[in-house]
Amino acid sequence: MQGKKSSSHYNRQDAVFKYLLISASLLVVGLFAALFLMLIRGSLPSILGNGLGFLTGTTWDPINGIYGALPAILTTIVTSLLAVGIAIPVALGIAIFFTEYAPVKAKFPLTVFIDLLAAIPSVIFGIWGLWIIAPLIKTYVQQPLVTSIGFIPIFGGPAYGISLSLASLILAIMVIPIIASLAIELLSRTPITLKEGMISLGATKWESVMRVGLPFARMGVIAAVMLGLGRALGETMAITMVIGNSYMWPFANPSIFAPATSITSKIASEFYEATSAIYAGSLIELALTLLIITLATNVAFRYIINKTNKEAKR
């Protein structure tokens, strides 16, 4: 029954299959290379036309052909750092509650919650931030602060609602589940023997987290921050809808209540209108800048994760 087909027949099938897998994999590598090349090619008019002034200029005036990207780059970096700064304590709190204090029965609902929050589309965060949160923030947070401590420039008025700070807040909510789930994974990896050692010495759970868990996961937590940062830097829709798309911040108005423009919101709102080669090129160069920044955080993230994985194996 068997062996009717010659083995060379199967060897040929094996070879064809292997080439199929290799070509799919090559396609992935090729797409990644093409992504880079197309962005570089697309930004050429801007790189040649705007020169280095593109990265340091503070004015964006397509009518007069002036393209300075600094406010957008700063906004992207500052909103992301603020967001991650808000998100870290919350995410660590969730992770510590989950690994140390949560009853077993609560763990599954908690993972559902974390995964659902991560799954909500960003355009939904956008519409929610714009129509529900912005008016509330404006009335109950920004206006009181502006009237009380508005003399400090970064808290200066007027209160718009949509602003740099609102964008950071929405972004923070979006990156909390990302940081929390990685932190949970890393804290759960703390060797049981170490933990039990601490507990048997009479340490409380809190002390065991602080002395063993967190130090053990320290690098991992930094990696989680990188991951969150990567996500925040590239986020588009929610930001575009709540940041106000004004080039005021930080040079014309340094207040965190001022509307601003991030790299992504600039691209999202102007790409259609970019009819001239240099205008489109400038937006694509913005995208290229963003790609380089996010890839750098991604590389840092993977470097740290690989290092902690190796340490965990030891």
């Binding site: 029954m1 068997q2 062996g3 087909k5 083995s7 060379s8 199967y10 060897n11």
Partner: protein
């Protein structure tokens, strides 16, 4: 047995390496058809490597090498036969039962044929029934043929794996300590099964249990540090071993 003159398996000068480490040194032996050969020896003596050279599985790990001559029915399996064909002629049963969990009980039995599309559905059903009967599993699973192969008990899984090897109508079945993960009752069933298998095929079985070797085998091969120390009829080996090493091992005075 005695009147059979030709050899099922004729191995001469077999060497095997893991990278730079030599695991088998110049092993030569001949195995007659329709016999049970027990391979014994302390762990790390090369018994697993030895049987994995017979179905060409040793060479799968990068860096591993084999040299020497292995003749199956007079044909050199390293020179004249494709490795896949060798493995279809030489079946293998592993230490840990390893039925495919994504397949039903009956599909597990015929996996080797079905996966390469070598038989029709009707033929496969017949093959499944025949081989489940051969391993004494048919009555136990008759009504659960569509259940996952992983749903059976450990002993049943191992008999399923033997049925899976048998379904290929192999010339030789290699067994790598097939009862070491099983309870005594399941072990007894497998031992009885091995004795009946030699009516159809040739069995080479590794065991770390010398009593088991004495119970079920016709011939016994004792390995030590990669070398074949002694090979002969089981009764002879157990009653009057030539080598003091063999004697120490089978009387249990070995480190």
């Amino acid at each position: 047995m005695d009147n059979c003159t030709y050899e099922k398996l004729d191995i001469s000068g077999l060497d095997a390496w893991f990278g730079d480490k030599q695991a088998l040194k110049g092993v030569s032996l001949r195995i007659k058809p329709k016999t049970v050969t027990a391979v014994i020896g302390p762990s790390g003596c090369g018994k697993s490597t030895f049987i994995r050279c017979i179905n060409r599985m040793h060479e799968l790990t990068p860096g591993n090498r084999v040299s020497g001559v292995v003749l199956l029915d007079g044909v050199d399996i390293y020179k004249s036969v494709d490795s896949m064909d060798v493995r279809r002629k030489v079946g293998m049963v592993f230490q840990k039962p390893n039925p495919f969990p994504n397949m039903s009980v009956s599909d597990n039995v015929v996996a080797g044929l079905k996966l390469i599309g070598a038989a029709s559905k009707k033929e496969l059903e017949a093959v499944a029934e025949e081989n489940l009967k051969a391993v004494g599993l048919w009555k136990e699973v008759e009504n659960d043929l569509k259940k996952s192969g992983a749903s059976l008990s450990g002993g049943q899984q191992q008999r399923l794996c033997i049925a899976r090897a048998l379904a290929m109508r192999p010339e030789i079945i290699l067994m790598d300590e097939p009862t070491s993960a099983l309870d005594p009752a399941s072990t007894a069933k497998i031992e009885d099964l091995v004795k009946t298998l030699k009516a159809e095929t040739t069995v080479i079985i590794i065991t770390h249990n010398v009593q088991q070797a004495a119970r079920i085998s016709d011939m016994t091969a004792f390995f030590y540090l990669g070398e074949l120390i002694e090979y002969g009829e089981t009764r002879t080996i157990f009653e009057s071993p030539k080598s003091p090493l063999t004697e120490r091992y089978i009387t249990g005075r070995f480190g």
